[in-house]
Symmetry: C2
Subunit: 127 residues, 2 copies
Amino acid sequence: METMGRHVIAELWECEFDKLNDVNFIERTFVDAALKAGAEVREVVFHKFAPQGVSGVVIISESHLTIHSFPEHGYASIDVYTCGDLDPTIAAKYIADALGSQTSEMTEIPRGMGPVTVGKARVTAHA
Amino acid sequence: METMGRHVIAELWECEFDKLNDVNFIERTFVDAALKAGAEVREVVFHKFAPQGVSGVVIISESHLTIHSFPEHGYASIDVYTCGDLDPTIAAKYIADALGSQTSEMTEIPRGMGPVTVGKARVTAHA
C-alpha cells in the first residue's frame, strides 16, 4: 500500500449542543461519513464523557476519522485521514453539516509524502 | 473543559520493519506513550492488516493518539493530540524512539483556538 494520504483537520464551531452531546448520533454520523467517502470501516469506538462531550474514532482500511466534541462551546474538533483515492473532504463536509456547524475551518495536510508537509497545506474557511 | 489543544502530526521514516508490523508491540508502546505524557487512557483499539501494517488508536481523556504503519516503506504516520496542560511531544518522541525511526518530521498544530491554525504550525525535522 502506498504511504500517501490526505488528512483533513476540521475545526467546527457553532454546532448544535444536543448533537455534540449525543454519542449515538455522532457514531452513526461518523460511520455514514466514512461510507459516503467510499471507505471500508474496520473499528468503531466512541466514548461519552461526564458531564458532557464525546470522543471517538472510526478506523477505516484507509486510515481514520476522529472527533472530540465540546458541547458547551458548540465546538467539535474532527480529523478525516484517508489513503488511496478517497476524498476526505466528502466525509468532513458531511459531518460538519450533520452537526449543524455554522462556522468551520478545514485544513488539508498531505501525509506520507516524505518532505515537510505544512507548506503544502490548504486552508479553507467559510461562515 | 477548554477547547484548546495541541496536535502533533509526526511522519516517522526509516523505522524497523518488525516493530511496525507487531500489533502487540505498537499497542503497548502507544499506551505507554500516553501514560508518559500524563494522559488518562479511555479506549484502546488496534488493528492488524494483511499482509502487513497496523492501524490503531488510544482515546485519552485529553483527546487521542493514532498510528498507521507501512512496514514495507519503513513509515509510520502518527498523531498525538492533547488538551489541557499535557505535552504531546513527550508521547510523539517516545513513539519515534520505540519504533527506531531514523528520520522524523513533527508538526504541531494548535486546535480549538478559533482562527485558522496553519499559520501557527511549527515544523521540526531531524535526521
